[in-house]
Amino acid sequence: MLEILPQIIWFSLLASAIYALVAIGLSLIFGILEFINFAQGDFAMVGAYLFFGFVIEGGLPWWIGIAMVVIVAALMGVVIERITFKPVRKSPPFIPLVISIGVGALLQAIMIFKFGGSVKSYRTEGSKAEVYKLFGDTLSVTQSQITLMFVTAGLLLGLYLFLKYSKTGTAIRAVADNQDVAAILGVSINKTIGIIFAVGTALAAVAGVMIANEQNLSITMGLSLGVKAFAAVVLGGVGSLPGAIVGAFIIGFSENFIVGLTPIPSSYKDAIVFGLLIIMLFLYPNGLFGAKAEEEARA
C-alpha cells in the first residue's frame, strides 16, 4: 500500500488545486452578496468548452485561446449578474440561490446546443503526454499536471496580491466588510460586484480549461465540481478566503485517500464528500474558520 502513497498524494493535490480555484470565486461572491452561486461549476464547464471552441475547433494558438476564455468568461459573469442577480439583490439569499440553479441548467442546455452532448477531449491524435518518473518510479507526473499546479499557485498568489494591494482589491474588501459604509466612502457597489463576478467567473473558467486538459469535457462536469467547491467553502467557513482553500484541500485529500487506501471503490467519492460535509456542518455550523471570520467582521 505504501508504494502508492506518493501517487495518491499527488492526485489529491491536483484535485485540491482545482477545487480551490472554483471555491475562491464562490467565496468571493458569497462574501459580498451572501448567496450560494450554484452555477459556479457550470462557469468552469463553459470555460472548458469555450477553449475547445476557440483552440481545438477554431484553430487559434492556445495562449490566445486562454486569453479569449478569460475575457469571454469575465464578460459572461458580469452580464449574468446584471440580468439575473442584480434585480433580486435586496431579496433573501433563497431567491438568487434558486436563480443560480436555473442559470446553471440553462448554461448546460446552451452548451449542448452548441457542442453536442458527447464527451470531448483537447487531446489531438498523435500527441502523447510527457511523463516524468520521480521517487524511484513510485510517482509519475505529466506536463499538464505540473502546468496545472503552477497556474493554480500563480493565480491564487495573484489574487491575494490584487485583493491586498490594488485599489480595486481594497474596494472589494471594503464592500465585503460593510456595503453601506463602503458606499458612503464613495465605493461604487455595482462596479465592485461586477468586478467580483468577472474575477470569480474567469477563475472558474480557467479551472475548467485545466480540468478538461487533464481529463476531458462533458456537459455535466460542472455539477459536482461546483457543489464540491461549495462544500470546500462551507468547510472552511463562508466568507473566509484562506478557509476556502483549506476546505478545498480537505476535500481533495479525503476523497482520494479514502478511495486510494481503503477497499472502498472510487465510485463512492461523492457520497464520502457530502457525508463529511453534513457531519462537519452539524459539528461546526459556521465552518472551521467561520466563527473567527464572523468575530472579525463584528469587531
Binding site: M1, E3, I4, Q7, I8, F11, R82, I83, T84, K86, P87, L106, A109, I110, I112, F113, K114, F115, G116, G117, S118, V119, S121, R123, E125, G126, K128, A129, V131, K133, S140, T142, Q215, N216, S218, T220, M221, N256, V259, G260, P265, S266, S267
Partner: protein, 411 residues
C-alpha cells in the same frame, strides 16, 4: 428604474432562449440524416409502416449510435427503393435511448402507446434493450436488437430478438485464452452497465486465475486512483471493459500517463473503433480482443463501406455492428411482409430464420431469439485489428474456429 431594467433583462433572457431554440432547430450539432422524418410527418402519411427505433443518439453511446443510425438509414432507403413492403414504405421513428435504461424505457413507452408501433428496432446498448424488453413483452411488441450483447437478453422474453451474438461467447473465448497464456492474476476495470457487467461475469466464469476488480460509474472521468490501485496488485494483464470508446479513450490516456506497461485485454467496443486503436497504437499493441467473425471482404459489405464514406466523408467504424444493423433492417422488411400487424406471426417468422445470408454471415435464430454467430479472438498490431495467432495447444482450435467462421460467412 430598476423595474424598467429588469423588464428589459427578462425580455433579453426570453429572446436569448428563443434564439437558442431556433438555432437548435436550424442546425443541430448532432448531424443526423436530414431526411429523417419527424413523427408528425409519419402520422400524416398512411402509406407507410411505422417502426420504432431506439439507438443511443446523444451522449457517449452516440459514438456508435450515430454511425449505425446512418447505416440503418442506408439499408432502409435501399429497402424502400426496392419497393418496400406490399407497396408501402417503412418509416423508422427514431428515439434517443441515451445508452441507459430510463431513457430507453421512456422512448419505448412513447413508441408503444403513442405511435402504436408493432416493432421496435433496437435498443443498441444492452441496458436499453433490457429496459425495453418487459414493456414490449407486455404489449406483445417485437424487439429486434442489432447490437445488444448482454447474456441476460437471451432470456429477456419471447418477443425479444437479436442478430448480434451474446457475450457469453466473447467472455468465454477471452477467458480461455487468458488461461492458456498462463495468466494467474488479471486486473479488470469495468463500467457499471449491462453490457460490461455481462462480459465480466462470463469472463470470471471461464478464467481460472484471480480477478482484481474495480468498477466505475458511467459518468466518471477520473480513473487514476482506481488504476493505481490495480497497478499496485501487479497483475499479469489488465482487462479494459468500458461501454463506450469515449471512456476507453480516457482510460488509455490515463494509463499512458502512468507509464504502466502491462499486457492488455479489451472488449469489442475497444476493438471496433479504429480511431482509438490507431490513436493509442503503442499502448494497445498486442491487446487481446474478441469480435464476432464475419467476412469483411464480402462485396456487399465493401459497398456499404463505400456508401457510408461517400455520405459522411468518414470511414465506417464498428464493421461488426454495421453488418448486423444492415442485416436487421432487411430482416424487419421480410418480417413485415409476413404480417404488418400480427406480432405472433412476426415472432414465428423470426424463430424460423435458418441459414439466412447477410453481411454478418449465415444467420440461424435459436429458440431464445439469439443468433448462431461465434466470437473470434483478435489482436491489435500497429493500430490494426488482426486475427489472433493462438499460442501452443490452442493453435489448431483457433485456426479451426477461424476457418469455420469464414466458411459460415461464405455460405
Amino acid at each position: 428604474m430598476l423595474n424598467k431594467f429588469t423588464r428589459t433583462a427578462g425580455i433579453s433572457i426570453l429572446g436569448a432562449s428563443l434564439m437558442f431554440l431556433l438555432s437548435a432547430c436550424a442546425d443541430g450539432p448532432i448531424d443526423q440524416p436530414t431526411d429523417t422524418p419527424t413523427d408528425q410527418e409519419v402520422a400524416e402519411e398512411s402509406n407507410t409502416i411505422k417502426v420504432g427505433a431506439i439507438f443511443p443518439l446523444t451522449g457517449d453511446g452516440a459514438a456508435y449510435g450515430d454511425p449505425l443510425q446512418k447505416v440503418a438509414q442506408i439499408a432502409l432507403e435501399e429497402v424502400n427503393a426496392a419497393g418496400g413492403v406490399n407497396g408501402k414504405e417503412i418509416e423508422f421513428i427514431w428515439e434517443d435511448g441515451k445508452c441507459n435504461g430510463a431513457d430507453a424505457a421512456n422512448a419505448a413507452r412513447k413508441l408503444i402507446e403513442v405511435d402504436q408501433v408493432k416493432v421496435i428496432f433496437g435498443g443498441f446498448c444492452s441496458g436499453e434493450t433490457l429496459a425495453v424488453a418487459p414493456l414490449a413483452e407486455a404489449a406483445k411488441v417485437i424487439v429486434l436488437s442489432p447490437g445488444s450483447s448482454s447474456p441476460d437478453i437471451t432470456t429477456a422474453g419471447d418477443y425479444i430478438f437479436r442478430n448480434y451474438p451474446s457475450d457469453a461467447k466473447q467472455g468465454k473465448v477471452i477467458g480461455e485464452e487468458a488461461n492458456n497464456k498462463g495468466y494467474a492474476k488479471v486486473a479488470m476495470l469495468t463500467e457499471q452497465n449491462d453490457y460490461t457487467i455481462g462480459i465480466q461475469n462470463v469472463f470470471s466464469e471461464h478464467f481460472t486465475g484471480e480477478i482484481i476488480s474495480e468498477t466505475y460509474l458511467p459518468d466518471d472521468s477520473d480513473f487514476r486512483t482506481a488504476l493505481v490501485k490495480l497497478q499496485a496488485e501487479e497483475p499479469d494483464a489488465l482487462f479494459i471493459n468500458p461501454q463506450t470508446p469515449t471512456k476507453a479513450d480516457l482510460i488509455f490516456k490515463q494509463i499512458e500517463e502512468m507509464d504502466w506497461d502491462v499486457d492488455m485485454i479489451g472488449n469489442d467496443v475497444v476493438a471496433g473503433y479504429q480511431d482509438l486503436t490507431t490513436k493509442y497504437a503503442d499502448l494497445v499493441e498486442g491487446m487481446l480482443v474478441a469480435e464476432f467473425a464475419f467476412d469483411r471482404s464480402n462485396p456487399d459489405f465493401i459497398a456499404l463501406e463505400e456508401e457510408y464514406k461517400s455520405r459522411t466523408g468518414t470511414d465506417l467504424p464498428y464493421g461488426t455492428y454495421a453488418s448486423t444493423t444492415y442485416d436487421a433492417v432487411s430482416i424487419v422488411k421480410d418480417m413485415l411482409a409476413v404480417s404488418e400487424t400480427d406480432t405472433d406471426a412476426m415472432k414465428n417468422f423470426l424463430y424460423g430464420i435458418s441459414g439466412r445470408t447477410g453481411l454478418s454471415g449465415s444467420l440461424t435464430m435459436d429458440s431464445n431469439g439469439d443468433p448462431n454467430f461465434e466470437h473470434r479472438l483478435e489482436t491489435i498490431v500497429g493500430g490494426e485489428v488482426v486475427p489472433y495467432e493462438s499460442e501452443g495447444s490452442m493453435m489448431e482450435e483457433g485456426d479451426a474456429m477461424e476457418s469455420e467462421s469464414m466458411e459460415e460467412a461464405e455460405a
